[in-house]
């Protein structure tokens, strides 16, 4: 017991060695990406990084709870809506990185910029006795009865983007599509992994609105799945990097943002099968020129997000 207590004490000493000079980064998954970015950044600049790795929701919850004594110097979320909300509340430090020159205008503002983006796709299991889908609306067909899953837009920023995009492009037809899917037995089991796992294991056939990079990675690992981008158009789920205005390490935070947007940083993003924010960095997956994207107003959509989620809930009841 004495030894245990002694070890605890040592652990405490080690843990308190976090100094004020370090850069504190709160990042949503995937973890290997944030870890690789932090490591390469430290190697390049000598600035140590404290990385808190969690889900987008918990990153934001921790940021909110810490407002009396803010800790984070950089926030990376998987949900563009988070950045829009914080920006509207005036909580972000404006910064335009030189490295963001080749990032498309839709993925940068003066307050925040995308690290990269996921595209939203249909992912289907190829081992099942089921035709290959090509369009979103195909999934209302009898052949996909009780086969479809979808991430919950309330829990997945990516699924929310898809619903927003479809609704702004197709209007009421989009809500009709959602309720037809529901009538065809679609389930909405939770966040992204909860929607994808039943398809991987063959309990269900196809995900409506999957985050593509996870599925592309799994297909590369040998899973019997295919990723389809409908020609009628899909949406991107950009991953914002933000610097909270409360940071006391503004210079280091800006350097971190520069690094993530540098060719080296963007190559690390590409390694995780995520679409790099810069159009001049080669993607290891379907890139900017291969995707048909629905153009919609992210800021307006974010302002209406609550109404959109309510409309989704109504359509699936």
């Amino acid at each position: 017991m004495i030894r245990t207590l002694a070890t605890s004490f040592i652990a405490m000493m080690a843990a308190t060695a976090v100094t004020a000079d370090d850069l504190t980064v709160y990042s949503a998954g995937p973890k290997p990406l944030s870890a690789a970015l932090a490591e390469a950044f430290t190697a390049k600049t000598g600035i140590a990084v404290n990385l808190f790795q969690s889900t987008s929701g918990k990153v934001m919850a921790r940021y909110e709870a810490e407002k009396a004594n803010p800790q984070a110097d950089v926030l990376i979320s998987a949900s563009w809506g988070h950045a829009i909300t914080l920006s509207a509340a005036g909580e972000l430090l404006p910064y335009a990185s030189e490295n963001a020159m080749t990032v498309p205008d839709s993925l940068k503002t003066e307050d925040y910029v995308a690290q990269g983006a996921a595209a939203i796709a249909m992912v289907y299991n190829t081992t099942l006795d089921m035709p290959a889908p090509a369009e979103w609306s195909d999934l209302t067909d009898e052949a996909y009865k009780d086969m479809v899953t979808m991430p919950d837009p309330a829990a997945s920023g990516a699924a929310l983007s898809l619903v927003q995009g479809l609704a702004s492009q197709d209007g009421d037809a989009a809500w009709q599509l959602i309720s037809d899917l529901k009538a065809n037995g679609m389930i909405v089991p939770g966040a992204n992994a909860a929607a994808l796992n039943p398809v991987l294991s063959g309990a269900r056939g196809v995900v409506f609105g999957a985050v593509d990079y996870i599925a592309i990675g799994q297909k590369a690992a040998g899973e019997a799945i295919e990723v389809v981008y409908p020609e009628s158009g899909t949406v991107l789920a950009p991953r914002p990097i933000m610097i909270p205005a409360s940071t006391d390490q503004a210079d280091e935070a800006k350097q971190f943002m520069d690094f993530v947007l540098s060719e080296e940083g963007q190559a690390l993003v590409a390694d995780r099968m995520i679409l790099p924010a810069r159009t001049d960095v080669k993607a290891k997956r379907p890139g900017w020129d291969e995707l048909a994207l629905i153009d919609f107003d992210y800021v307006k959509a974010a302002a209406e997000a609550e109404a959109t989620i309510d409309a989704f809930t109504a359509a699936t009841e």
Binding site: G29, N50, G57, G202, Q218, I225
Partner: protein
């Protein structure tokens, strides 16, 4: 000097029922209360204040109560409260039925039944999140059961009933351990007397045995009730599929879904506190009705009291329960870990141990995550059991006006969703005005774990202490035993079993705690559960499951070892 004081005291007519003075007891009391205040009351107070002052996170007190009205009028909430309470009552009923039957069988087996004590700890070692996933893997369409046997359980699994069964299989050990230690104390004597006088076995069970362990059953049911209301993993994973809303899933939605609403989550947490308060009062009234204590501690039955046939049948019955509650989920986790491709199905070419090998070769952080979790779990177990024993004495024996509030306070952490508690801890400790703060260090994890786990030892030890005969303590005090002597020498040996058991439970749960860890981990700090979660999140299901299994085996191994060492200890009075 102390002996003099004791001497003069022993010459007066005394009753240990009344609180009596003493510097030692006063300082122990202050230490226990102070500990409870810092570890439990502060974060809970912060949550309550946050519900009242929605800008508390910015240390501002504007707009008091502005948040309560809109949230309490939410129509979704009423349905969620109803679902949560119904679920909790159903889980209590099923766990009690399973656990009490198991405990009655096990106690008859004497020492030969020890294997079941170890096995029934396993459900605690499996995180609810992983456990629910294991059941889905087994029971869903094209799941393991369908691939092997040709049918699936999905209609049953994704229903209210399915959630009740999965949770009860996870929680029944709480009742099992409390009841079987109570049965051990009660012994067989009263039962024997009744048998000699010709009572039937059913009559003996309901008139003698169950009433004697009533306190233990009621007290552990309080834990099960509150844990069910608070538990998130199963409610989320299975509840979403069954379209059933619970208070705890609603709270989590506010904490992590867009738009994040921390004060709203605090308001809903108050409702959970209110539910817990009602349950606690019901428990107090029931306890008053059922409390019995025996006048002499019985020695443990060392030999099986059953014949060969009875022993075999008992082992088969307990084995059946262990198969469903322990073997099936573990097997499902093992198969999920061995599957190279989830879409590849259960064929030999798709199964190997690569995920386990990768854990120790390519994932360098896996081993340190295991070490961190074991370390935290051990320290948490030692601290909570120590406080649990002290608290039990202040709640049961050395009563004062603060006894019941202390009891309720130490039960409360179980009623709050762990994530709300984590928010409370951030609100308390992430303040610039503290000269030193545990926040962002290892210590905040220990604080969080200690707070969450304290209810287990407190409940278990309190209920056992209630049953212990008062006569021994009175005798000891008359002969001049000090308060510490009463704890260590008199009641200690009788409490040892339940203390060790509660320590194991704390160790098990702490070694896989997920929810607070996800929100509170200091930068660069990883536990088993956060490792599993991140692997799962990235789609590496087999790595996540391999890590879960390794952690279950290591923690289980520690418990089995400790249990074995404990059994080598010479029994008193033999």
């Amino acid at each position: 000097m102390r002996s003099q004081r004791r001497l003069s005291k022993s010459m007066m007519p005394i009753s240990a029922h009344k609180p009596s003075g003493g510097v030692l007891r006063a300082s122990l009391f202050l230490a226990t209360m102070g500990f409870a205040f810092v570890v439990v009351a502060l974060p809970i107070l912060a949550v309550i204040l946050f519900a009242i002052f929605p800008k508390l996170n910015e240390l501002s007190f504007i707009g008091p109560f502005s948040n309560l009205g809109p949230h309490l009028n939410d129509p979704r909430l009423l349905q969620a409260v109803f679902n949560s309470v119904t679920l909790a009552l159903s889980v209590c009923a099923l766990s009690t039925a399973l656990a009490v039957s198991a405990a009655l069988l096990r106690i008859k087996l004497g020492r030969r039944g020890a294997i079941w004590d170890v096995l029934f700890l396993v459900p605690f070692l499996v995180p609810p999140f992983t456990g629910a996933f294991a059941w889905i893997q087994l029971g869903q369409r094209n799941g393991f059961i369908e691939q092997l046997l040709g049918f699936n359980l999905s209609a049953m699994l994704y229903s209210f009933f399915g959630i009740v069964v999965v949770m009860a299989l996870n929680l029944f050990p709480v009742v099992y351990f409390t009841t079987s230690s109570a049965l051990q104390i009660v012994g067989q004597r009263y039962d024997e007397v009744a048998r000699v006088f010709g009572a039937t076995s059913v009559r003996r069970l309901f008139r003698i045995v169950l009433p004697l362990v009533g306190t233990a059953i009621v007290s552990s049911n309080l834990l099960v009730f509150i844990m069910t209301v608070e538990e998130f993993g199963t409610a989320e994973i299975l509840g979403r599929r069954a379209d059933i809303d619970f208070v705890v899933t609603y709270i989590h939605e506010k904490l992590s879904d867009w738009p994040i609403d921390l004060p709203g989550a605090s308001v809903l947490s108050l409702i959970l506190i209110a539910i817990a308060l009602c349950a606690y009062y019901l428990h107090l009234r029931l306890t008053k009705q059922v409390t019995t204590s025996v006048d002499e501690v019985q020695s443990q039955g060392r030999k099986s009291q059953l014949g060969t046939v009875g022993t075999t049948i008992s082992h088969i019955a307990l084995g059946g329960l262990a198969f469903v509650a322990v073997a099936l989920p573990l097997l499902s986790i093992l198969l999920s870990a061995m599957m190279q491709r989830m879409s590849g199905g259960l064929v030999w070419s798709n199964l190997n141990f690569n995920a386990f090998i990768a854990l120790f070769t390519t994932h360098e952080d896996a081993l340190s995550a295991i070490a961190t979790s074991l370390h935290l779990a051990t320290v948490t177990a030692l601290i909570t059991v120590t406080i649990g024993i002290l608290a039990a004495f202040f709640i049961v024996r050395w009563r004062s006006v603060l006894s019941d509030p202390l009891d309720f306070l130490l039960t409360l952490p179980n009623a709050l969703p762990a994530m709300t508690l984590a928010v409370g801890l951030i609100l308390v400790w992430n303040q610039a005005f503290w000269p030193w703060t545990p926040y962002n260090t290892w210590w905040v994890m220990l604080l969080a774990y200690t707070c969450i786990m304290l209810p287990y030892p407190v409940r278990m030890i309190t209920s056992t202490l209630r049953q212990l005969p008062m006569s021994m303590q009175d005798a000891a005090v008359v002969y001049g035993a000090s308060d510490l002597g009463v704890i260590l020498r008199v009641n200690g040996p009788a409490l040892l079993g339940v203390s060790v058991a509660s320590g194991f439970i704390v160790f098990s749960i702490a070694s896989r705690e997920l929810v607070t860890s996800l929100l509170l981990t200091p930068p660069g700090f990883e536990t088993v559960s956060t490792f599993v979660f991140h692997q799962f999140d990235q789609g590496s299901v087999n790595t996540a499951m391999a890590m879960s299994l390794v952690s279950v085996l290591i923690s289980g191994g520690f418990i089995a070892l400790a249990n074995y060492l404990n059994s080598l200890r010479p029994e008193k009075g033999h």
